[in-house]
Symmetry: C2
Subunit: 226 residues, 2 copies
Amino acid sequence: MTLPVKKAVVLLSGGLDSSTVLAYAVAKGYECYALSFDYGQRHKSELMAARKVAKVLGATRHEVVKVGLSRFGGSALTSDVAVPKGRTGKEIGTGIPITYVPARNTVFLSLALAFAETLGAYDIFIGVNALDYSGYPDCRPEFIRAFERTANLATKAGVEGNKFKIHAPLIKLTKAGIIKLGRKLGVDYSLTLSCYDPAPDGTPCGACDSCLLRRKGFLEAGEEGA
Amino acid sequence: MTLPVKKAVVLLSGGLDSSTVLAYAVAKGYECYALSFDYGQRHKSELMAARKVAKVLGATRHEVVKVGLSRFGGSALTSDVAVPKGRTGKEIGTGIPITYVPARNTVFLSLALAFAETLGAYDIFIGVNALDYSGYPDCRPEFIRAFERTANLATKAGVEGNKFKIHAPLIKLTKAGIIKLGRKLGVDYSLTLSCYDPAPDGTPCGACDSCLLRRKGFLEAGEEGA
């Protein structure tokens, strides 16, 4: 007799954090359903990275779902506002950045919940991280807990006693800690893309907050970068 | 000196309930931003009804946002599963119906939250109703409260002290009570569409749960129907 395989939905942007989370969930024995969003982000290189990562790390299925967030505007990641470049570590750590997309993680987790319920999956993985990005309110543990509670009240599955669990395994790790974890799990970070403003061919700009934090993370993890 | 106008986002499907809610929010003096979704529902007549209702009731703006929910399947409203017809009142009130769309109100409220935050609106209106449709878990007051709490933890606005409020003014009304409220507010229900399975020209089927509950509501409100 074999034990039934547990399914999980893993939010996958194609960046460093979410790719590490996918490797983590696969290593924990979950059958992983990766979920990415086409939400009007400036560039599609992110989605191309997600496709490669999902395949290489062994996701059972990868869905890319369209969400018209760009109709609302209000963020450097979806509109014509310039992505800030060359900020210092102190500047990056202060306040909520212009790259904040209103309610993004709430929207993404809601769609992950819808996907999970149709699959009969009760585990949802998200690569939020409260340390390096204290500026995003929807990366905090209290947000994750509140969403989990909402999910269990919102759904047929929750009402019928199958409790949803939102896993945020990176939430207390530094970027260097995330990279070290990913290396142990065999993640090839050259497939991932963290840049907010890459060239049309997917080459990272090297100067946005995300590129700078990534570079700092690799240096602190004792690597030259990837 | 004039008082600043308060903005609200109103979820509008084009059906009886959400149209009544829009009329209610307008009557309360809100500048209303109506929000509808193209989520792969079987028919577009619903969206056409929403457009007419938004215009006639005086919404300041009406956005229709695409959300690829149909990629997940799992509901009679988005997939090829047949919409049940001719069920009795007792059957309608029992269990969670096949027309349940997984996590729908969580997804819709999340997108309303994203829209509200970009507008600087802190009031969100939704036409959920716990009485006639006890079968949908995401129509219950405890779900609405949990989502509101999540919204205030998720957002920049929430963190900065602007509290979001989710208004569900119909939650304890019967269908007849909703119709009576709407009549007082001048709603022309002939513009609205409640049917789950209308003909291509938008004519209601008259036999799905939603048509049957609507008809019952009008009879109980002392009307022949609309």
